[in-house]
Amino acid sequence: MHIAIIGNGISGVTAARYLRKKTNDRITLISSESDHFFSRTALMYIYMGHMKYEHTKPYEDWFWEKNKLGLIRNEVISIDFENKKLKFKNSESLSYDKLILATGSKPNKFGWKGQNLNGVQGLYSYQDLEKLEEITPKIKTGVIVGGGLIGIELAEMLKSRGKNVIFLVRENSFWDNILPEAESKMINNHIKKHHIDLRLNTEFEEIIDDGNGNVKEIKIKNGEILPCEFVGLTVGVSPNIEFLKNTKLDTDIGILVDKYFQTNITDVFAIGDCVQHREPPAGRRNLEQIWYTGKIMGQTIAEILTGNKTSYNPGNFFNSAKFLDIEYQTYGQVPANPPENINSIFWKHQIEDKLVRINFEITSLKVTGVNTFGIRMRHDVWDKWLSEELTINQVLNSLTRANFDPEFFKKHETEIVEELRSQIS
């Protein structure tokens, strides 16, 4: 049997690795982006000079051959689902018995004027990074549009290379559709401390060219014109499924799958960023473009294809990010605005950018989620607490057990627990 996987990102590669552990079937990984798997999450570190491209490859180049994982560097332009055949850009083709689509995402563009000029781009692929590197010497001022996780990374990247950075955020406060107000405000301040010109409540109207197809300036909605040599568009990503639209494959925003990653076509499955769950697991959105969910989907599809029909179960939600110097972790549900039955209490350090927020149900006192900034916490401990539905008092009593900061770091738990207790009563 031949299992073909389109996409050598974390989802496709995890699927291939776990399949290889269980079968001797022929497995082929296809990508138009890179010869070998690399970590997209580390793109920023290449640009900032923390790492070189080869450091971002989690497996050495010999790994693939040794594990008999076929690699093809080519772009699939269409799929003949009837005859189970992939068509490549160079008009070659490849037959498969089972197909896994793991095509990832692409940066959103909403049809703005000037969005295709030279010097206007998103940051998703290695090619995006190469493009950015190429124009970097010409950049004096870069404007970032869109206040999300990739936006702040791009701002940090440009800053690290000594550029002026103007950061346009449409909302009242950074990432405030996800972060509660206190957290979001803290990040606003931190961004400014890094001398990034953060403009909240600011939308842009159009990007203006210099007559030669290069960006010259960007016009914002109040009419102000900001001269710049670069515009970073980071207003989210969406599933990379252009070449699958208008085929027999059932798609909406993403490729529609059930909880076994089955698409509407037999022997065709989809995992990772490109997926839209028809029935998302409890507490999860139908589109979740996160690293570890891609990994879990890869592991699960390998189980399914090797005869162990398990459904997708990513467990309690968690995630992490880093906003310049502030580390952020979250476990469970901490929405920007708590629903009515939820009490949301938080402690913030007087001076430093440290904050801990815990949400719990008002009636049952069950803890539903935590946000932690500047203090590391243990995943397994929080996961257990959430699964066992501990009450807020039980959690506060043993909060020190969750601390994951390095040795000798100042512990704030006494302070935190005191503050949170006073907020409960």
Binding site: S39, P58, S320, Q329, F408
Partner: protein, 497 residues
């Protein structure tokens, strides 16, 4: 400010290198009388006739003349079968030092203050502005900079370091002027003129201290890094530098009390044992202390804390690696192949160190100079000192910092590290815990692991990292942008491997 710092540094190094070529040398009979041992005088005096009272403008030909005179004498003695009359003293150095009559010999203190004043001031001017960065990991530009990514500055630095070590170990007479410059400080500290080892100890200590301050600034957000850096600075300054000099001044056997066998490979050599025995109670204490340290201290401490208690908190080699070497930590190879070579090499050195020491002790106790009838323990000891003690730990270990990373010796060669590594791997509470599923496989941890451990390999699987070579520097944990890694001491049964 940073630019001024670099200018100061360049001026200082230029003067320092130029000073090698300054000074004049003239060997007089008074100097011969004063320096040369009685039993060697009659041998050396005629051989040195041709350079007597002649003015030399540089040290190289002068000291080479002396060196060849000594080897002519030794060859002759050998051919006559008088092996035990052979000369082992380093007369090319001691006579050169005594014969200096030029500027360096006249004004050593001036040179000392000028060179090291500029060097230290320049370094601080370069380092201190980093304080204006906000606290946090700032590795920007490391792989773009020609010093820290094996490009031209790195290659020049490496070459200079390698040359320095070769001169220090094998041609100390060529750096006579550098040693002369150290005389005033050496006399102040221990009452004797400087040797090349005093020069080395001094340079080593200021490197650890100055670059330690750099570490304080770079990692000021991490108490673990601060404490650890203070610790290596303290041990280098006191245990490795001040205390041994003080002991010498008090006419006691000088010893670095934190160094231990088998890193201190000459610990069981006859002359060092004799020296301690002669020194009475203190000497015996030192001997017993040295033995307790590696037989009892190491297993206990390594069981509780991992080998980090020594490698990145106490050890001198580790201290230099963690301070002077920190800018180069990312250059260690993470390839699986490198790990294979490492395991063979480091355990091989450990075996050789044990065999060599056993042989030396056997010879000391029995008086037999060979073991098993053919292995000459003296030869073994000589080659160990040459190949491992000088070439591996010095020339390669430190000289290759800018080329292969800062722990080449600690990773591939140190027998003490090998010994502690075995304990750490199989019987220790130490591990690096991985925080559940938070790893995003970015690779910062692996890149900045000076020991070339592919930390990510374990982290992305949710496994704890238990590796013999981990020195517990904690940098993987510091650089991880997702807070995935933590150095912990917990019951060995709870390791997730």
């Amino acid at each position: 400010m940073k630019k001024t710092g670099i200018i100061f540094l360049l001026i200082s190094i230029t003067i320092w290198i130029l000073s090698l070529f300054l000074n004049q040398f003239k060997l007089t009979s008074e100097i011969l009388h004063e320096v040369v041992k009685k039993e060697h005088y009659s041998l050396l005096e005629p051989e040195l006739q041709n350079i007597r009272d002649k003015n030399f403008n540089e040290v190289f030909s002068f000291s080479t003349e002396i060196k060849s005179a000594v080897s002519r004498i030794n060859n002759k003695l050998e051919s006559e079968g008088k092996y035990n009359e052979k000369i082992f003293d380093n007369y090319e150095l001691s006579l050169s030092k005594a014969s200096g009559i030029g500027a360096v010999s006249k004004y050593p203190l001036l040179f000392f203050l000028l060179i090291f004043g500029l060097l230290i001031t320049g370094s601080f001017l370069f380092i201190l502005p980093e304080r204006k960065n906000l606290p946090g990991i700032k590795n920007d530009g490391i792989f773009h900079h020609p010093a820290t990514s094996v490009q031209w500055i790195g290659i020049i630095l490496g070459t200079l370091l390698i040359c320095f070590y070769i001169l220090l170990y094998f041609f100390p007479h060529f750096i006579t002027n550098w040693i002369l410059i150290m005389d005033p400080l050496s006399k102040l500290m221990n009452g004797n003129p400087a040797s090349q080892w005093f020069l080395y100890g001094f340079l080593y200590t200021i490197a650890v201290l100055v670059m330690g301050v750099r570490m304080w600034i770079k990692y000021r957000h991490s108490k673990y890094q601060l404490f650890r850096t203070c610790s290596v600075m303290f041990f280098q300054l006191t245990f490795a530098f001040l205390i041994p000099e003080l002991l010498t001044k008090l006419n006691l056997p000088s010893a670095d009390l934190k160094n231990m066998w088998p890193l201190d490979y000459s610990f069981f050599f006859d002359y060092r044992i004799d020296q301690k025995i002669q020194a009475g109670t203190l000497g015996i204490f030192m001997f017993v202390w040295g033995i307790i340290l590696f037989t009892v201290g190491v297993p206990i401490m390594t069981y509780f804390f991992g080998k980090r208690w020594y490698c990145s908190w106490v050890c001198g080699c580790g201290g230099l690696a963690e301070t002077l070497g920190d800018p180069f930590r990312q250059l260690s190879s993470k390839k699986l192949k490198a790990w294979e070579i490492e395991r063979y090499l480091i355990h091989f050195v450990l075996v050789i160190a044990v065999v060599m020491t056993a042989g030396v002790i056997y010879t000391y106790l029995s008086g037999n100079s060979t073991i098993m009838g053919f292995l000459d323990t003296g030869t073994l000891r000589y080659y160990y000192g040459f190949a491992i003690g000088s070439i591996f730990s010095g020339v390669v270990g430190t000289g290759f910092y800018p080329l292969m990373g800062n722990r080449v010796w600690c990773r591939f060669g140190c027998p003490l590290a090998a010994y502690m590594g075995l304990i750490q791997r199989f019987k220790s509470r130490f591990r690096i815990t991985t925080n559940g599923g938070q790893c995003i496989s970015c690779g910062n941890c692996s890149t900045y692991c000076e020991q070339g451990i592919d930390v990510r390999w374990y982290a992305q699987r949710g496994q704890d990292i238990v590796r013999a070579s981990c020195v517990g520097c904690g940098v993987c944990s510091s650089v991880c942008p997702r807070g995935v890694l933590n150095l912990e001491n917990l019951s060995p049964a709870t390791r997730k491997i």
